[in-house]
Symmetry: C2
Subunit: 319 residues, 2 copies
């Protein structure tokens, strides 16, 4: 009897794996360090090891596992099961699907992390019960996963949902992708830290600098969050600007997709109260009233576990 699946979530700093029954009930769950600093081959070995460990922990025999779902950073090819290139974990053209298929002798499905998290939030998180839902992850960068008619929408070349790289300010800030004015350059952890650094270097008086040990180069988004929560005016303004730009992008999603709900996850979403007001104001002033009235924009519910849940959901789908 093959009545369990494994969900594996590959992240830049952590790996996580869960064993689930076919109703997506969690049997066991573990996390470990990715150890990316030891190189791509070690990360591959760690992926194998954590799946072995989660099976051991559960006490379920290996031959009862029907499939493994994997959530990984991209770009990757869901058809070939190959992760094309991920600098943070030292992977270049790693055929992680066939590697895991060989190791565990089961079917394996590979999906990018934003899509896996979107699916998870739709199946059992903040998007439960919705038909058309867009999941946005805002952390160092910005990504999204699109659920239409309750199914993952991947586009024609597995590249749909590049929300972080839609142009929201024509000719605006240069972005790491080579283009200009991308949403990610205005509404991400990196953008927030950059804006704080630039402002402080230009003479803004803010508690952020002290939190960074007086060294502008060491300013990080979490210090901007701390300062804003302590009522630092400049930090509050930076979060409001982030909300404004994120709202601009969301308004575009709403006008094009007319979704039931937008779910926002990722590290930055934890500072919800610091950007929600300005974000919604911006959504409202750039969409049709009839659409923004019916729209729900809510924080993600699954946090760290979204990747594992989503991967397991995909695993169940191929059983």
């Amino acid at each position: 009897l093959k009545d369990y699946v494994v969900g594996l979530d590959i992240g830049g700093t952590k790996l996580a794996a869960g064993l689930f029954d076919l109703n997506l009930k969690e049997i066991s769950f573990i996390k470990c360090d990715t150890e990316a600093f030891r190189g791509g081959q070690v990360v591959v070995e760690n992926c194998k090891a954590i799946v072995h460990q989660v099976l051991e922990k559960s006490g379920i025999s290996r031959d009862r596992v029907a499939s493994i779902g994997i959530s990984s950073p991209g770009p990757l090819d869901t058809h070939t099961g190959i992760v094309t290139y991920v600098e943070t974990i030292g992977w270049k053209n790693v055929p992680i699907r066939s590697i895991m298929e060989e190791e565990f002798n089961v079917s394996v499905v590979l999906e990018n992390d934003a899509n896996a998290a979107a699916l998870a939030e739709n199946v059992r998180g903040a998007g439960e019960g919705t038909k058309n839902m867009i999941y946005i992850t805002v952390s160092t960068g910005v990504g999204s996963g699109i659920i239409l008619e309750k199914k993952l929408y991947r586009g024609s070349h597995d590249a749909a949902g590049e929300f972080g790289h839609i142009c929201i300010v024509p000719g605006g800030r240069p972005c790491g992708c080579g283009n200009r004015g991308c949403l990610q350059s205005y509404a991400s952890g990196t953008a927030l830290a950059n804006a704080a650094r630039a402002g402080i270097t230009a003479g803004e008086n803010s508690a952020i600098l002290l939190k960074a040990g007086g060294i502008p180069e060491k300013i990080h988004a979490f210090q901007v969050e701390e300062a804003a929560k302590e009522n630092d005016a400049f930090a509050i303004k930076l979060w409001e600007e982030m909300g404004y730009h994120l709202g601009l992008g969301i308004s575009i999603l709403v006008q094009l997709f007319d979704p039931d709900r937008i779910v926002i996850g990722g590290g930055m979403s934890r500072a919800w109260d610091l950007f929600y007001g300005s974000m919604m104001e911006s959504v409202r002033s750039n969409t049709y009233e009839v659409l923004s009235e019916n729209l729900q924009v809510v924080p993600a519910l699954l946090g760290d576990k979204a990747g594992v849940f989503g991967a397991a959901t995909l695993g169940i789908a191929i059983v």
Copy 2:
């Protein structure tokens, strides 16, 4: 035997109707004036009349008609079959579906014009053979119809595809919809005429003015087209700016939907060579290279007949 369908296309100036067999082969086709100036009730009567006429012309007996598909300007409700409000034809909450059902005693399906045209281009026009395709119509205003996995995507409230009203210039030009910076305010017939008028009033030297009888208020997009084709520098610049802004919007579609193909119809698309170059330059500088490389942006093929074809396709789908 019910083996024919009627497609009815309701436009601001023209009505068109076609009789088709169930393989979408055209049996007969006619057009007439909408006569909107005579009021909404006359338009309703004209809709009934043109369907009667296309049947007479074909010689096919009325009881062989299985269904009628209708393409209409919106906003409208596909579920109730009611056209909510269309100023140009004097309609407010017109239950056109039940009116036609009563008149012809067959099932009727109602769809907005951009969606109907999108479907038509996908089934037998410039988008034939594609899986994910977006149809853009650029005329007085700008609209779009989204085909995903070969099916019309309508969104959660029948409001997806409001491409003309995504914000591409934050805080930019005021738009008729009440918001600012909408694509339609930069890349439509109205926008082109406005920009020509503003430039000429501010002293631009251009052949456009002469074509408008020396009266800036009378400048219309078609004069800007004529002037550009005669190498008028200012007119050429206006078309290039339109292409740039349309390209900005298309780049957003590409990053979010990753489609196989974009199909552009509507009156403005006939001036293809005047904006294609600047549009594609703008698409390329605002999308991932891997996406713009694979992307096809092509002119619509069905012209005036798209609405009738799309309506008939929807009619066939409910047989």
